[in-house]
């Protein structure tokens, strides 16, 4: 098929993935300040979007390989073609939307890796996957990330409640704004550049860029805007899961949780043991629920989230594998792929309208603020 059209389709899907990445991960930083009322919902997502936009411009150093060694790329392995990337992106986007519909915080990078794995297996068999890297870089960290964050947040919460008295704890809301902003900024520097990498490597594969080129400015701008727009859209379902459904969060807990998330993510990204932001953030919230006397962690919700993590890679992989099979037909296969993906996306969106969760779900009137009384139905006798 016409390589230009294919590259355009891949770039479009990559930006769509970037958008889903943004709204999937708003909750990591902003679920706790929204839950405690430290920030009003709309203000929180606007702040997160701005920080993601800034973060995307601050870090444009993209990876040399699309999968970080997960797929044996180049000589002796599988050639990462734009078609394979297209199928992988479809798998990742569909899974991201499905988990959003269910309100599950799941790692967008895992969805992307899963998609690429699925597509690569169809293209070149299971030999294309480096099992060792899969276990040591994805599976083991996926178990350790939430456990580490739980421990750190548990201790931080205990400290916060041991030092402060009850009437002083409302002021933790001010601290929450700063710790959540830090998590947001870290997310922007980390995640927008993944999509920049996908687009840049696609352009290199299509010979539109020199090998080892840095992302062109329009790629940086497009990725930054896509992730910021996604973040602003808010992914309110996931915010509700982390901020409300896991455990009840007080300001001191929100501060402790977000401080733990920031500390764990920064330590992990600078000391050579990468951990998923989403998994760290969810672990922190559970840890802070365990740390406050009287708070209850709803383990049913935690279990659902864990199952979501467990099946993220295979599920995105299966969707991508189907897309890759269809794309194998040729031109019309690829067109059918994109059309089907758009139909599924529209379907998930329409399904989500059945019980919409928006920023209004989190409306918390300030003390003393006038609240418009709900209209009563005409009294029936």
């Amino acid at each position: 098929m016409d390589p230009t059209l294919l590259v355009v389709l891949v770039i479009g899907l990559a930006l769509l993935f970037d958008f889903t990445n943004g709204f999937h991960d708003t909750a990591n930083a902003m679920a706790t300040p929204i839950a405690t009322g430290a920030l009003r919902p709309r203000v929180a997502v606007a702040l997160a979007a701005a920080l993601n936009l800034v973060g995307a411009f601050l870090s444009t150093e993209v990876a040399r390989t699309i999968s970080g060694g997960l797929i044996k790329e180049g000589a002796g392995g599988v050639q990462i073609t734009p078609t394979l990337i297209l199928a992988g992106l479809i798998g990742a986007i569909v899974w991201n939307l499905l988990t959003w519909l269910l309100g599950l915080p799941s790692s967008s990078s895992h969805a992307l890796f899963g998609g690429l794995i699925g597509a690569a297996i169809v293209g070149a068999g299971t030999g294309a996957i480096d099992g060792g890297v899969l276990v040591s870089k994805i599976l083991i960290p996926a178990v350790l990330a939430p456990l580490t964050a739980m421990g750190v947040a548990f201790l931080a919460t205990k400290i916060a409640y041991a030092i402060t008295r009850k009437r002083q704890r409302d002021n933790f809301k001010i601290g929450q704004i700063f710790t959540s902003s830090l998590v947001s900024l870290a997310h922007g520097t980390n995640d927008a550049q993944k999509t920049m990498g996908v687009i840049t490597l696609t352009l290199i594969a299509a010979k539109a860029l020199e090998p080892d080129a840095t992302p062109p400015i329009w790629v940086i701008v497009a990725c930054a805007v896509a992730i910021a727009a996604g973040t602003y859209t808010g992914g309110w379902r996931i915010i509700k899961t982390i901020g409300r459904d896991l455990t009840d969060i007080e300001p001191a807990q929100g501060f402790a949780a977000e401080a733990s998330t920031a500390a764990t993510i920064l330590a992990s990204s600078h000391l050579g043991f990468a951990l998923s932001t989403t998994q760290v953030a969810s672990g922190s919230v559970i840890g802070t629920g365990l740390g406050r006397v009287g708070a209850k962690v709803k383990w049913g919700t935690a279990g659902k989230i864990a199952i979501g993590w467990l099946i993220t890679i295979p599920a995105a992989g299966i969707v991508a594998a189907l897309a890759a099979l269809l794309a194998g037909i040729g031109f019309w296969g690829i067109i059918a792929d994109v059309v089907l993906a758009l139909v599924v996306i529209a379907g998930i969106y329409l399904w989500s309208r059945r019980n919409s969760v928006t920023h209004r779900t989190f409306h918390q009137p300030q003390p003393g603020q006038f609240v418009r009384p709900k209209k009563r139905k005409a009294a029936s006798r």
Binding site: S136, A156, I159, T164, A263, L271
Partner: protein, 67 residues
């Protein structure tokens, strides 16, 4: 397949210390600012300044341009 266990232990130790220190300093600040003794306020402000310093170190770590 090699798992960098030493790195992991280091990550856990550093995150525990950093998060605990930040939360302890901020909490202590909140505790001290809520009182009448004249020495409490300046000490609390100093603690908040240290917290801001830790946050700045965080930003420094986040932005690759700085290192």
């Amino acid at each position: 397949m090699t798992i960098a266990w030493m790195s992991f232990v280091l990550v856990v130790a550093v995150s525990l210390v950093a998060a605990a220190a930040l939360v302890a300093l901020f909490s202590l600040g909140l505790r001290l600012i809520d009182g009448t003794a004249p020495w409490r306020r300046p000490v609390a402000v100093a603690l908040f300044v240290i917290c801001a310093g830790i946050a700045l170190v965080g930003i420094w770590l986040v932005v690759p341009f700085f290192h």
